[in-house]
């Protein structure tokens, strides 16, 4: 089975801190994603990466950046954390899609980030 591991289950940070959320997958997937999950809003895509050193903005990239130096690792960075970034952050990975082949996302267990 695919394993997507997020480094922290719970994280508490202060406003203005720089925050790193780490994600590692062990199935050699090309694609990796960062979502945030908020009650009543579902999952919203922050950034995704379809190859090493490649990244694309999702629907809500403001206030975030990402890094993909190695295929298995995708980091989400909050340059200066704010209280409205308190949320559950979910990392996911998938095989690259060609033509119209289906894509299944495999998710990590999430990191609950609280910014005080």
């Amino acid at each position: 089975d695919v394993k997507v591991t997020q480094s922290s289950r719970y994280l508490v940070k202060r406003t203005g801190e720089k925050v790193f959320l780490e994600c590692v997958q062990d199935m050699d997937h090309e694609n990796m994603f960062w979502y945030r999950q908020d009650p009543g809003l579902g999952l919203r895509l922050i950034y995704f990466s379809y190859d090493v050193k490649m990244k694309e903005k999702g629907d809500i990239p403001e206030g975030y950046s990402v890094s993909r130096e190695k295929k298995e690792r995708f980091s989400l960075i909050l340059e200066s954390a704010s209280t409205n970034q308190t949320s559950m952050y979910l990392c996911a990975s998938s095989l690259r899609v060609f033509s119209l082949k289906s894509e299944k996302l495999f998710f990590g267990s999430g990191t609950q980030l609280s910014v005080l």
């Binding site: 999952l43 694309e56 289906s102 267990s109």
Partner: protein, 115 residues
């Protein structure tokens, strides 16, 4: 813009009953749909998917129905068990600029199964 919605935020059923979770989507160009299950404290897990050239697909105790005419998706769970209690998300796939399928998720429906 595209949106994926759910008719009921919470569905309560008795153990052994069949459950039906509904989802409406707005983008008629979407060609791929997925249902995910998220248990408390865990990330979403893939349940079943369906392509737009199909109107029904069955898995183990689950069936997904797709009605493209009214842009409606449903997940049917047969003989619902307490272990089915979770939040269920539907998602639609859209082709992004890179030709890459990006998933747009709905807000989720909570399924509560009582013994």
């Amino acid at each position: 813009g595209e949106s994926v919605g759910l008719h009921l935020p919470t569905l309560s059923v008795q153990e052994g009953d069949n459950s039906i979770i509904n989802c409406a989507y707005s983008n008629s160009a979407s060609d791929y749909f997925i249902w995910y299950k998220q248990e408390s404290g865990k990330g979403p897990q893939f349940i079943i998917d369906i392509r737009s050239n199909m109107d029904k697909r069955q898995g183990q105790r689950v069936t997904v129905l797709l009605n493209k005419t009214v842009k409606h998706l449903s997940l049917q769970i047969a003989a619902t068990q307490p272990g089915d209690s979770a939040v269920y998300f539907c998602a639609e796939a859209l082709l992004g600029n890179t030709g890459f399928q990006k998933l747009v998720f709905g807000t989720g429906t909570r399924l509560l199964v009582s013994p």
